[in-house]
Subunit: 365 residues, 5 copies
């Protein structure tokens, strides 16, 4: 009783004001719709009066930032602004009856929402959830939300660090077939690309190229479904990799080539070459941290490294062999020369090399 | 009163439309079932009218992606699509009474769900939960969900990096015995493998082989339970490990072997060999980061490393000893040769070596 | 019935106390306002009685701590104290009727709150949420909260480690246009800077400069919106980077320059220079961990490093070439000198060099 | 009205079936108990009718897996299956009245649960919570749950890597004294050990030894409390540490010892020894990542390392000093010998050493 | 109807038992207080009947463990047991009416709690929340909870690793001024220190010294507030840093000093010194990982390192210069000596040095 009484009182006070001019609050619209936290009509089922009607869900995204691209984990983390809107047949009012109110924003948990999933998403959205959504007098429901999507993406690192990556975000309903939820997008690929470029904040180490949007129909689990796929293309900024990785390796290769000019006689050539090889080994270790082991083909950069490594290896082996052969080659000559000299020395009565004694014993013996 | 009034109004407006043709909304079905957020009949207990009946729960999975396999943590992270369905005896309607509605999707929190646990799962599901489930006119409840399962898995790294891993996902009820919940799977191992291969997105560094499904009955905590075990077999892509780890170690072994050709006289042989040994030590440190310490048997790759290391060690020690012996061997000869030469020099009146003075003092003294 | 009865009892006991002096509890105010957990009037819609009125939201921040600035992730983590206040037209009481109560603190979940978003924020607030907010008799609602904001920020590392960073926090409503929510700030840039400096606890490795506050109007998604942008300027403390990175690299460059004094004859010059080069390579690896790859321009510090590296490289190559040329230059002379000497030796009857034999064969042949 | 009508209908249909045989659903039991989501009798207070009665809580654990043991963090992460059961005096029915139903499983949030805490646990349970618990006709409530417990544990690393660790899990009520909650365990230490060994899945790098269970009574915050302590003993698998750490260090020590055989004359001995010392330094760095700095006593392995390091250090210093002394020792002799020789040479008319000029100036001057 | 009937039945059965002796359950107290989940009297506002009365909140902590102290992040993570108690004027009963019940434990979410914040806390409490609190017949509410507090703390690393850190935990209300919530602590600094020492479990690498407690009144946001500050003092266990960092650096310095004994002639001195310098550089890199860059003063240990580094640098440069000067010094002498010798040789008819030819050409030309 008292509850009802209060309500009357409230209505009266509203009327009090309305004497001069009609004034409407948003709550009046909700009261008209009987839209409350607990009204299950709006929450429990797909909001169509005739179950044969499909719910059209429009879906648009705006790429805000590329937060991270992890090659080893094959993970792509974009920061995306998502706009979803659909029709609720239970929501409808005449704006004229409510002083022209055309839109009302209400807490998002009181309404049914399409059960969209992003197939590639492997973690819950990290960004805070938008608390409100907007309903319009014609029944349109509009939800805006920002998503930090930790998504899986098959990376193609064959041309690393000069690679271009394409990561997809595939939106589809989890359990509703095509006949119940129909997905479509408003903005074209071109518009989405243009807008994203305008709003883009940070791009990590990537240059955002474009977004491609297309719609597919998949058949899985026994029914057809609409899938909207947003494919984000981006190009790696390779300048720091060139400066910090490719150039040093190339420099060390040059050093190794230059080492052919070092004299074969002293031990310095060998120690020089092996130190340079060690430096390349250290640089190669960094590569392991960057590249994923998932590609069928060995990335060009790994081939580059192992190629440089092998070249140095071979030149090192060659140096060792050449030094060995030179030593072997000169030893018999030395032996012969020494024997000759020793013979001469005997004649001249002078000893210059201590191994003449042994050298003499052989021709004498 | 007003509430009821509104309801009448609503029904009337519905009737208004129904004059031409009968139109049904999904809410009508829920109203018929009296299925509301707060109806505890659907939520509190296992949905059987006769408590002696078991609830048959069918369970199928589709492997979407292998997100990570961490050897040191013994953790396996698959991304799995899970389809669970069971029978609720409190749900039943005649589709004919509702214009042919056969399925209704409703929020998942309003219904009882089987308390399935995955024994290996050591973290909460990271993926967002599916908000809806589907009920059918015959009482079947169907739940679809994607799970990022951080699960523990005993890794066998004996043959690393040429190893094949088998990781299991064991589904069972937490508290219901066999007589209450009966688990079974619809699709065979072959079908699950085929479908998973079709839908597979990323595979990390692994080649997915197949899924094996089998059902067990375990006895624990005093009662029998059904367990469905999905065993995922996969093979490691070892190419990058070969290129980045095995080859360099082998190369350094070759270098060490080649060093036998270096002359023993100069100091360069020793410094060359010890530098190569240092390079192998650096490479061996990486191994520590990859391999878990849990295996009873030492992995082959560790044996390979420590073997190469020991070989180099021994060859280094051998070089030192040989150099020592050669030095020891030549010293007495040199002493003798020198003394002889000094004697001759005295006769010939010439001094070539400064240590003749000392050498002479000994035979004289 | 019983429920109502109890309520009467309670009111009576309250009256009992009030006989001596009127005493008011905060609950009395809530009862007057009918503000309960479930009263949707306060929670569902924007609290204006006339929908044409905009809600003025004032917003002030106080920078408490700079928790982290990650250059590679382009992430900035400030710890901020946020004060938001707005007007609720449904809240109003006469303090005189309630013994002078002017403010009441209530749980924050019972009231509508503006849907503010921080555009740069990429993770949910990590700090615990403030459980209460304050309502005043004139309808003002005041919310205080501390936020740990993991926000994205485009870093300018060109002058690293002598750089100054500006990171923005842009507050705006998610779905309300300018006509519905009007944002403004009370304190000026100067006041906010002064207060923040006073309360600042930890600053990581940064020196906080100032906060700049300005308001913008953006047009996106078809409507105008107020945006308040707080720009935090801070300067890096570069002392440890100088001591631990710049100085060692400079030292190694000095060493490399000093190595020109080392004699070209022995092998020590080469091995010295290559070791110094290796040390610089190791130091350069650290740089990779610090710098993000996102800048268009190569940072000065990377140029410094690669410059030092290249200088050392060139001086090393030059040394090799010079040594080679000196060797080449002296060889023919030696050959000639030796031939001459050998001829003389023949006359004098003495052999000092073993290659006279070969040298002689050429003039003789 | 309609609501009640529906209910009657339902009862009637149930009666309809019951004509042949009485059939009971679990909901019937709950209806009998008046156990609903909102019945605060079951939820708000400790379920005893006489407040003087203590609630007996039995507690048993089964160790499922040892997920991680982090020495530096002093953290131990077991995966444990927990079975808790207690008596609720508000729950009681005659199974005969309900067709023999003896147990009903219900959602866990509707009942009061003992406020058990694990004193060592420093993070919320990571595993998903069990959604159901079981009530029996005699009032027993049974809760099963799997816990991933990130717990703090004082590690004893003195004997690392041959150490045995004991980590405790101490269960007690947070606010209830001994007179209100009495804790006990059913299974003995031996049984728990046996069962855990049977179910153990992964053990990280540890060999599980046994679980010891004992009950203590502590006095804190002014009242007595029962504490059940489960102590898990485990032994480290040290094989990989031996192979990857101890052996290499030992090998390098051998190398250092072997270096005494290298000739003191050339520079190779010094560079060999310093390179080996560098290799040990690199290995020692790994130790820093493994060992916590919390022990009062220096771990044996650190002593081993620093011992080997010091030995090498000393042998290196000794080598330098010996080389210095040998050089000093030979220099005066050489000087004398040279002077003598120069004198002789003058007589014999021959010059072999360029420093005779200077040497002569001294005796002449 | 049925509902009421059931209630009567229950009351009757209770009366049945009470015939022999009066028996009270805790629920009886709650019924008396009308304390239910939904009674907003207990939940919505500060529990005072007269709004002018302040709520006295007592606050005591017990330090359980020091879980982590991260110097680079300036983060301190203690594990603390918190006891908070305050007065609720709506809670009061006569224990005699309820068979002597003096305390009742109830779920913590049904009561108003003071909005305490810890100013330094930068992450939500990681430990599980205590589910219950205790109310007493005199209206006292007692809450116990364990908190894992990730808090920011300004570290003073000037004397690292011989430093003592003081980290504060400042408790204050978020929105209540001094006139509404009055904070105080029961136990003195001495008691808290003693108790904490008794219960301390793990201390990471720190030795806990003491807790200092003091109360401050701050003025911020326009009103006064009580702040209780707990300052935890602790001393670092520096033994492992000495063994693993300071000693090796010192050893390398000794080695560098000892290198003055090495002969300047061979190349080994230079390569020895540069290798030792490289080893110190590697050790210095570890320092970067430990020390935060936030201090105004360079830490002593960094000065120690850069000092040792500079000393070695200078001694290396000095060696190079000395070698250069010695070489320059001896060259002209050699030239002169050689010319002299060549002249003599011509007279004596003997050639010992090949460069006499060139040497002769100059005096002759």
């Amino acid at each position: 009783m008292m509850h009802v009484g209060f309500f009357c009182l409230f209505v009266l006070s509203a009327v009090d004001v309305a004497s001069s001019e009609k004034v409407c609050s948003f709550q009046d619209v909700l009261n008209h719709l009987n839209l409350t936290k607990n009204n299950e009509l709006f929450y429990m089922t797909r909001p169509v009066k005739d179950h044969r009607l499909a719910t059209d869900v429009s879906l648009d995204i705006l790429l805000y930032a590329i937060l991270d691209v992890r090659e080893t984990d094959q993970t792509f983390i974009p920061y995306v602004w998502l706009v979803v809107s659909w029709q609720s047949q239970y929501i409808s009012w005449n704006p004229k009856d409510f002083c022209g109110i055309e839109k009302v924003s209400i807490p998002q948990e009181v309404l049914w929402k399409p059960d969209l999933t992003i197939e590639e998403m492997i973690e819950k959205d990290r960004a805070p959830l938008s608390p409100h959504l907007t309903i319009s007098s014609n029944g349109e429901v509009n939800l805006q939300n920002d998503l930090v999507m930790v998504s899986t993406c098959r990376m193609h690192v064959y041309k690393f660090p000069f690679d271009t990556q394409s990561c997809s975000l595939s939106f589809r309903s989890i359990i509703h077939p095509l006949t119940e939820i129909h997905l479509f997008h408003n903005s074209s690929s071109k518009e989405a690309t243009k807008e994203s470029k305008e709003f883009m904040r940070t791009q990590y180490e990537w240059l955002f190229n474009d977004i491609k949007i297309y719609t597919e129909t998949t058949h899985s689990f026994g029914y057809d479904q609409d899938v909207i796929i947003f494919t984000i293309n981006m190009k790696r900024r390779s300048i720091l990799y060139i400066v910090n990785f490719l150039l040093p390796v190339l420099f060390f290769l040059c050093l190794d080539l230059a080492s052919f000019l070092i004299s074969d006689n002293g031990g310095e050539k060998l120690s020089f070459k092996v130190t340079v090889l060690l430096a390349v080994t250290v640089l190669q270790l960094i590569l392991n941290d960057i590249l994923p082991a998932s590609s069928n083909r060995i990335p060009l950069i790994a081939l580059y490294c192992i190629g440089v490594f092998s070249l140095m290896m071979l030149s090192l082996l060659e140096t060792i062999v050449v030094m060995y052969l030179m030593r072997k080659d000169s030893e018999p000559q030395e032996d012969k020369a020494e024997k000759d000299r020793c013979l001469k020395e005997d004649k001249r009565g002078q000893v210059n090399f201590h191994n003449c004694e042994e050298a003499q014993q052989q021709p004498d013996g």
